[in-house]
Amino acid sequence: MSADQQRILVRAAREVIPGQIVNLGIGLPTQLFHHLPEEMEVLVHSENGVLGCRPRREGEAPDWDMIDSGGAYIATRPGASVFDSAMSFAMIRRSRVDVTFMGAFEVDEIGNLANWKIPGKFSPGIGGAMELAQKVKRLVILCSHNDKHGNPKILHRCRLPLTAERCVSRIITDKAVMDVTPAGLTVVDIAEGLSVVELREATEATLNIDERQLGRF
């Protein structure tokens, strides 16, 4: 894992409040698992049908009937339950999951999210992302600020097929923490050592920045 990804995860862990029900998407968000202390009373939901999963401890044997939605063999914590896929998505559609973390190809100024399909290149299917993005009360995006070619991922408007419209609450990248507000994207925190000018240059979206209010992370 890169230092940038580590920085994103450390910052993202501060978003989780004890007592919450949390869903972690495939990829970087799954790694947030390791940043939530085991004694913290949080139930992690995985859409294949478990509420209250945790990573296996060092040396803990896998139970072959227990995976998360990414296919990793997991264990459970006290208070956990298992259920079928219809129940799992009822929980999501009824907004009983408090916060979900997901990756992104593109996010835009009005909170649209694209993270499932690149026409002609990548279309393995959407999995549970559409329901989660549309229905979970708070959607926090964890992604790199720019793609591997340096192109901005935080856009004026998404160009790829959408996962859901106007669904994102907060975006955490290696460069900034941004909130989607009625006035557009407002920068909450900026990465240590990065200037406001550099941040704007790396971003296509218009950013609202009040330098007196800006946090560092």
Binding site: N48, P62, W64, I67, A164
Partner: protein
């Protein structure tokens, strides 16, 4: 429906009822809950031109991955095939027709069929390309998408315990699509590690009542083990 007293069958006999061209729901999310032994028997018996309905395509070399590699699957209705590069390649070569649904919609389309409904209405996917393909309806001042139920000729499901009437108990995250498919298909073939005498399963613990199940076969955990150890992480 099969008489209660005639449901406990040999695996060869149960799978032999499936014809070429059948539509088959297959339980499982990744490996847990995938009825590996029933799938292997289907592979051995040679049925082809199949339409499979499964959350995913398993992984290369296991479960329905074997049926896809053997060219026996014409169409796959699924939500995500990212863990099976061979299935993606077959789709890209045009050899495998793939219909993709968001996972919760796929589950609900099956649940809806199993509950005896012909469709349901939903706002999931409104504003995305999912909505472009479906009919809409106005109700209470909003626009909703109409999602038809998803039916199948057969369902292959995996349970931890069963009795010979076909009552089923699932374990852990091996539940997933199994109880939904067990209600939705015309003929439901269940495999279980233990098929017990009626009366031995705790009443409150039964997930799928036997009324939905057509045939039940006993398999040893070993017949399913090959599928379980591929993707340890």
């Amino acid at each position: 429906m099969t008489l209660l007293t005639q449901k406990f069958r040999l695996i060869e006999e149960a799978i032999a009822a499936i014809p070429h061209g059948a539509s088959i729901m297959v339980g499982g999310f990744g490996s847990p809950g995938t009825p590996f032994a029933l799938i292997d028997e289907l592979l051995a018996q040679g049925q082809r031109d199949l339409t499979l309905i499964k959350n995913d395509a398993n992984e290369p070399g296991i479960g329905i991955g074997k049926l896809i590699e053997a060219g026996r699957v014409r169409r796959l209705v699924t939500s995500h095939i990212g863990l099976n590069r061979d299935a993606i390649a077959a789709m890209n070569r045009g050899e495998l027709e793939v219909e993709l649904f968001p996972q919760g919609l796929l589950a609900e389309k099956i649940r809806s069929a199993g509950a005896g409904h012909h469709a349901f209405i939903t706002d999931i996917g409104q504003g995305t390309e999912i909505a472009e393909k479906r009919r809409e309806i106005e109700l209470d001042g909003r626009t909703w998408g109409i999602e038809p139920s998803l039916y199948a000729d057969f369902a292959l499901v995996h349970a931890e315990r069963a009795d010979r009437y076909g009552n089923l108990i699932y374990r852990g995250t091996a539940s997933n699509f199994n109880p939904l498919m067990a209600m939705a298909a015309e003929t439901v073939i269940a495999q279980a590690y233990r098929v017990e005498e009626p009366g031995s399963l705790p009443l409150e613990a039964i997930h799928t009542p036997c009324a939905f199940v057509s045939q039940v076969v006993e398999v040893t955990p070993a017949t399913s083990e090959q599928g379980r150890r591929v993707h340890v992480s």
